[in-house]
């Protein structure tokens, strides 16, 4: 059972890291737009639709 004295503090450290990561994400606008990203995935023929694109997104497609 002694292992819990190591594992539980470890889990707390992980939690603190998770919170820190989340705060960072919030600060970097990741949670400001929750509506449009859902539509991006539906956009299959992106290459056709943006011939003159400079948007970095299109380079993936």
């Amino acid at each position: 059972m002694n292992i819990i004295y190591v594992l539980i503090p470890l889990s707390i450290i992980l939690m603190v890291l998770a919170i820190a990561f989340f705060f960072w994400a919030v600060r970097n606008d990741q949670f400001d737009d929750l509506d449009t990203p859902a539509l991006d995935i539906l956009d299959e023929d992106e290459a056709d639709s943006k011939p003159d694109s400079t948007d970095p997104d299109s380079k993936q497609g």
Partner: protein, 828 residues
């Protein structure tokens, strides 16, 4: 005259409006011809198709507004936005030398709008980033103004129908955003903390069963404390500060028992952990905070989405002005103007500032300010006001007052004052809540003291259970959650709600005051009757009138626009405040007021009947009469009939002349009318009805109605009207169909029913649970679960209002706002 037939097929492919009879416009969308209601829709739809973005039609779940004006917006309309003053005032350069700037967009309804804007405008050269916030209709841009000027971006947005406005750097938006972000942080901290603490608590409970040694148990308690204390102190902040704030003002807020329960449970648990014996409640406290935060977040988002008071003033002013300089003229942005500047304003433009005409004669439409629908003549030496539209002519204007000093902005302020009168309901709820809170606190104290006598070790759990179980959050959530859901349901109906709490009032309304111009009638005019006098037949008279009126921008000209076949007219000219003149096949014609043709005929011809008559004449003789009027909107008859059937008293109040008002009232069967009302008169009417104990709903549009709208118990505005009314009314009816007004009245009782169910449940739950908790039957963890379950139930019940609305629409015969039939993605 054929009326529009709104029951005809599915309506416009783009905007969903009914297609007027006789209009046969089509656009090729995704390889198939689709019917369009107007050239504006055709332009936008073709544009979307040619950019390969037809999937917009699959994605959208709200219909767009019908684009105003068929012409594509050009960068010239926004030229002044490229000036350095605009860049400095509204934007700021970031480290890459790119310009950051926000625009407020009109008509952004759903995620599909944001998607369309991002694809269409985001693909412009030099646009590094474009983010559209659907909730508040703002576009956040980061772009290279050397490669793509702002004017071009603005023109693209306007062409799509999302007219942009410069966003004055205001604190409100940033505050909303930081509030939302802060709440998210609290929730995640509380959520993660809850998982941890619950797992420790669970291990401890299971361990107690299986025989956990004392040292390990102590470890679990200590580690719970280490996690719970910072989590509670951080994530519970809003409750502590809010409770402290109300206490300091000598009041009892909802948050007082909440904060008391949290802090009491937390610190007593810490005390027990460090010095004493007994149960600890770290898990209950963290769970309590987490669930409360979830509820608060839902309310916060609903409130922020509902109450966007966008810069109303900026929206009713033009984007740029032509300033006269010594050498000529230049287009400048409004922020560059100063008192004393001289401006040139021409037909079709909006006056940007209050001022005096130096030269020129114009017809100005001041319907935004006074409600008078007929343009007035203004000439040198007279004043014109910001926000009025120049229909005809051209003038040089010397600026007297700008921005906040204008009459327009005075009206906006009047409006703000009227709004502050309103929240009677809110005050009452607060008042009740403070009594309830005082009752709960006393109850908890009494229960604690009684138990101290019986069994001191059970005193604390009982106090906590009482505080937690009677948490008035279900009571507090019941109404806002239902109203927020109702707002979403109404939005699908084409009714936007900016102040959800007014939905509660809607079923109690006894009187409805309707505005005429632009509300019951359409803003454009039509030819109602043609009377041929001599030497010409009906069709030729119409054709000739259509050709002659082509040059005019007067509202009357809209009545004739459909007869214009495009044939050439020589020497066409507009005679301000009189009519139009032109020559065809060697014959001179005049079309206009009787007095105007009288100059040729030598005598003023007698109008053949009531109403507004336009005369057509050659030099030799009078040819024909046209009676023009503003047609009633679709659904006007049904609206009045349904309102009367619902037992409501209908008033018609208008700034228009009494013969026009009476004619409309007669046609619709409205008994109570008041004509020639100034905004103050209308407000007086509403106030006198209210003083007689009636609850009054006002349906109107235009800024002149805005103070009245704010003074009424419930206000409804039609979005086709001036934008300012859109943001100020409680309920905004989109589109042009008045049947949505009656739909709103029809649905409101359902909202009230659900709100009542919620309140009844929350109240009876609290009342029944309280004695059990005080009697010691409810441990604190069960109280926390019960409280959360009660809140959840209330939230789920409220959500029902967001659904089940669609079938109603067909019942009211109204609207093709149903989701577009899904179609194959056959764009290529």
């Amino acid at each position: 005259m054929t009326q529009t037939d709104r029951h005809e097929h599915g309506g416009c492919w783009h905007c969903g409006e009914a297609i007027p009879a006789g209009v046969e416009i089509q656009a090729d969308i995704g390889g198939r011809a689709r019917a369009m209601c107007c050239h504006g829709c055709q332009t936008v739809a073709t544009l979307i198709d040619s950019a390969g973005l037809t999937r917009y039609y699959d994605f959208r779940d709200a219909l767009p507004e019908r684009p105003e004006g068929a012409a594509e917006a050009s960068a010239r309309d926004f030229l002044a936005w490229d000036r350095p003053a605009v860049r400095e005032h509204y934007g700021h350069a970031d480290c890459d030398g790119l310009l950051r700037l926000s625009l407020v967009l009109e008509n952004v309804h759903c995620a599909a709008c944001a998607w369309l804007i991002q694809r269409f405008v985001g693909s412009l050269d030099g646009v590094a980033e474009l983010r559209v916030d659907v909730a508040d209709g703002r576009a956040h841009l980061r772009f290279d103004s050397e490669r793509t000027p702002l004017s071009e971006i603005a023109a693209r947005l306007a062409t799509l129908g999302y007219r942009p406005h410069l966003d004055s750097p205001e604190a409100g938006v940033a505050r909303n955003q930081s509030e939302r972000r802060q709440m998210l942080k609290y929730i995640v901290v509380a959520g993660l903390g809850m998982m941890q603490v619950m797992s420790f608590a669970l291990s401890k409970y299971i361990g107690a069963w299986q025989g956990l040694d004392a040292q390990t148990e102590r470890f679990f308690v200590l580690i719970s404390m280490v996690v719970a204390v910072p989590v509670c102190l951080y994530a519970g902040q809003i409750f502590y500060t809010s409770a402290w704030r109300t206490l300091r003002q000598g009041r009892m807020g909802m948050d007082v028992p909440v904060a008391a329960a949290m802090l009491l449970a937390l610190f007593s648990s810490v005390f027990i952990t460090l010095f004493g014996q007994g149960d600890v409640y770290f898990d209950s406290v963290v769970m309590f905070i987490f669930f409360l935060l979830l509820g608060r977040y839902a309310v916060l988002v609903a409130r922020q989405n509902a109450g966007q008071l966008q810069s109303a003033l900026a929206r009713s002013l033009p984007v740029q002005a032509r300033r006269l300089t010594e050498g000529g003229s230049e287009m400048v942005a409004l922020i560059e103007l100063a008192a004393g500047d001289r401006l040139q304003v021409s037909a079709g433009e909006t006056v940007p500032a209050d001022g005096v005409i130096e030269s020129g004669t114009v017809m100005v439409d001041e319907s935004l300010l006074s409600g008078e629908s007929i343009p007035r003549r203004r000439s040198a030496g007279e004043r014109v006001l910001a926000g009025s539209l120049v229909r005809d002519g051209q003038m040089t204007l010397a600026i007297e007052n700008l921005g906040q000093a204008t009459v327009l902005s005075g009206i906006v302020r009047l409006l703000d004052q009227a709004r502050t009168f309103k929240p009677r309901m809110a005050r009452m709820a607060d008042h009740l809540a403070s009594w309830f809170v005082a009752f709960v606190l006393t109850g908890a104290a009494v229960a604690g003291m009684v138990w101290w006598q019986i069994d001191p070790s059970r005193s604390l759990p009982v106090v906590l259970a009482v505080l937690v179980v009677s948490c008035p959050c279900a009571l507090a959530l019941g109404t806002p959650v239902a109203l927020a859901a109702a707002a979403r349901g109404f939005a699908r109906l084409g009714v936007l709600i900016s102040r959800p709490d007014t939905l509660e009032l809607l079923p109690k309304i006894s009187h409805v005051v309707l505005d005429k111009t632009g509300t019951l009638t359409r803003p454009d005019m039509r030819v109602a009757e043609v009377r041929v006098v001599d030497g010409i037949d009906d069709d030729r008279a119409r054709l000739l009138a259509g050709r002659l009126e082509r040059v005019s921008r007067h509202p009357v000209a809209t009545a004739f626009a459909r007869f214009d076949d495009g044939a050439a007219i020589d020497q066409a000219e507009v005679v301000t405040a009189a009519g139009v003149a032109g020559r065809q096949h060697g014959v001179d014609y005049r079309l206009g007021k009787p007095a105007f043709v009288a100059e040729w005929l030598g005598e003023v011809p007698v109008e053949p009947g009531d109403g507004q008559w336009i005369a057509l004449a050659s030099r030799a003789q009078l040819l024909a009469w046209f009676r023009v009027d503003s047609p009633l909107r679709d659904g006007a008859h049904e609206l009045i009939a349904e309102l009367k059937a619902a037992g409501l008293t209908v008033w018609l109040a208008s700034g228009d002349r009494s013969e026009n008002v009476d004619a409309v009232a007669r046609e619709l069967g409205i008994e109570h009318t008041r004509a020639a009302c100034s905004p103050a008169d209308k407000l007086e009417l509403v106030r006198s009805l209210q003083a007689a104990g009636k609850r009054v709903a006002m349906v109107g549009d235009g800024i002149n109605d805005a103070p009245v709208l704010a003074g009424a118990d419930v206000s409804l505005a039609l979005s086709e009207g001036a934008d300012i009314a859109r943001t100020q009314a409680d309920l905004v009816i989109t589109g042009k169909d008045l049947s949505r007004v009656s739909a709103a009245f029809g649905l409101a009782p359902r909202v009230r029913r659900i709100v009542r169910q919620n309140l009844a449940w929350a109240f009876s739950y609290n009342i029944t649970a309280l004695p059990f908790a005080a009697a010691g039957f409810v441990p604190p963890w069960l109280a926390a679960i019960g409280m959360s379950a009660s809140s959840l139930l209330v939230v789920l019940n409220g959500q029902r209002l967001a659904r089940q609305q669609r079938p109603r629409k067909t019942a009211t015969g109204a609207h093709p706002i149903e989701p577009m039939p899904s179609r194959p993605a056959a764009s290529t």
